[in-house]
Amino acid sequence: MASPMTATITPPWGLNLRKSYRAQWWLVFVALSLPLWWLAYLAFSGGLGANPIEAINRFFGDWALRTLLIALAATPAKIVFGWVWPVRMRRMIGLWAFAYVALHLSNYIVIDQFFDFSEIWKDIVKRKFITVGMIAFVILSMLAATSWNGAIKRMGAKAWKRLHKLVYMAGALGCLHYIWMVKADTFDPLVHLGILALLLGVRAVHLGRKMWA
């Protein structure tokens, strides 16, 4: 079955690829890895400050949400600018988002709480910002686990697509997690929420036009 879906999930090493796309793919891949290099530099130059554990936590959290927003910008980029390449590589972008989320959570479990699972469980059930963060993590884990081509075949494109619509919820929960976490200064989290609203707005307008056209 040759659905238009295949284009979005074809890997860069696929036979039908042009060379320029492959270069683009690697460029974006390397660009999304830059935060890791930056963090390594900060760690070795003492740039993480007096409370490095908190700094690492914030760093991964920030980049998890940013990368997720970049992944969610692929379709709006196609709608507004007619670009196709972001949609084609959004699986890779989404997996980077998952990687940063996983690092964010690992830092919390391993370094911040040091495997104190009773404390972690209390956090999850009692602190609503951690509750929504964990829900977002579970969603993104499911999406990452079904991100390979075979999963689409096994699940069927329709069910797969329905499942992967949850990414919007993960984005919204990520923003909520951020807003509920800060003490008083909600400026940065609201900027992220604003970007998410903009990206979803573009889709909504596009969908509305298609439906009423």
Binding site: G49, A50, N51, I53, E54, I111, Q113, F114, E119, K122, D123, K126, R127, K128, F129, W180, M181, K183, A184, D185, F187
Partner: protein
């Protein structure tokens, strides 16, 4: 009305190098070729002594006090580089960056309310340099990090006694400078400005309560709340209001900034209490800056002996 300053300390002050001279020397070092000057001076007096010399003005005649804890001091760089002082930005390193040029001289503190000697005072009027003592206190932030800090100051009680509050004075209210030009963080209404705090009179008179003008034996750096700030080591750090310009004695409990911002999260008392969680995080443990593992938080931050009696019979979960 100004309080006449006793003569004894004036003599001492004249013995020391005048502040303006100190300032000029620092300015010269900073603006001229610091590297060259540092190299030459460093080779004479040794790099460590040189670093201490350019770092800040040493406060003279600081007495050691019995108020100390047998715990490792948090390094000077962390105490003065990792701060919550929203008047200079909400990031932890914002205050150290943005408060660098903050002028704290001249500085006037207005004393008002239920008090026999209201009026405008200078820092030197309130804190006599001959009385300065160093106290090593634990410092516990409501965000679950902590430090051990050698503050320099005088007990607030000694100041209050001289101001002679009336019998109606049940609380002491404090106010931070409001000046968005000098405190750029105030351009955004993250909190309601100016920052206000308050203590019950018996809390204010407790021997632990300190009005600090220095840290690490030096003049308080701006990012730590220069020229004068409050220290209440058994309470969360946000009670320690910085850069104070007004002290008012009141009959009624005064409003406090974080309580105004989120009354369900921050109470008037804000006593360190491992059994009463912040609604969004546990207060049972804390991470001492520089440590890897968290440590259990102590009741009243380890000052139970000194302050528990203040709250006898009170429900601390309700009066958080």
């Amino acid at each position: 009305m100004l309080i006449k300053i006793p003569k004894s300390w004036m003599l001492r002050e004249s013995d020391a190098t005048p502040q303006t001279l100190y300032r000029d020397r620092r300015k010269f070092l900073k603006t001229s070729a610091t590297v060259v000057a540092g190299g030459i001076a460093g080779s004479f007096i040794g790099p460590e002594a040189f670093a201490a010399w350019v770092r800040g003005e040493k406060l003279p005649n600081v007495m050691k006090s019995g108020y100390t804890v047998d715990e490792e001091l948090t390094p000077f760089e962390d105490v003065t580089g990792y701060n919550n002082f929203y008047e200079f930005g909400t990031g932890k390193t914002d205050p150290a960056d943005a408060a660098n040029d903050f002028k704290t001289d001249p500085w006037t503190i207005e004393v008002a309310g239920e008090v026999a000697k209201p009026g405008k005072y200078s820092v030197e009027d309130l804190i006599r340099s001959s009385q300065l003592e160093e106290r090593i206190y634990r410092h516990r932030c409501v965000e679950t990090w902590s430090m051990v800090v050698p503050w320099v100051g005088v007990p607030l009680a000694s100041i209050i006694k001289r101001l002679e509050p009336t019998s109606k004075a049940k609380y002491v209210a404090f106010e931070t400078l409001y000046n968005p030009k000098r405190m750029p963080g105030q351009k955004r209404s993250v909190l309601q400005w100016p920052y206000v705090e308050g203590l019950r009179m018996d809390e204010a008179m407790n021997p632990l309560t300190l009005m600090a003008t220095g840290v690490y034996g030096e003049v308080m750096p701006p990012q730590n709340g220069a020229p004068i700030r409050l220290i209440t080591p058994w309470k969360y750090g946000f009670k320690g209001i910085k850069s104070i310009v007004r002290i008012t004695f009141t009959e009624k409990q005064p409003p406090t900034s974080w309580n105004i911002a989120a009354s369900n999260e921050y109470g008037f008392y804000a006593n360190v209490n491992p059994t009463v969680d912040h609604p969004r995080w546990s207060q049972a443990k804390e991470r001492r800056i520089g440590d890897f593992f968290k440590r259990p938080t102590l009741m009243f931050n380890g000052y139970e002996e000194d302050v528990a009696s203040l709250y006898a019979g009170m429900d601390l979960a309700r009066n958080f």
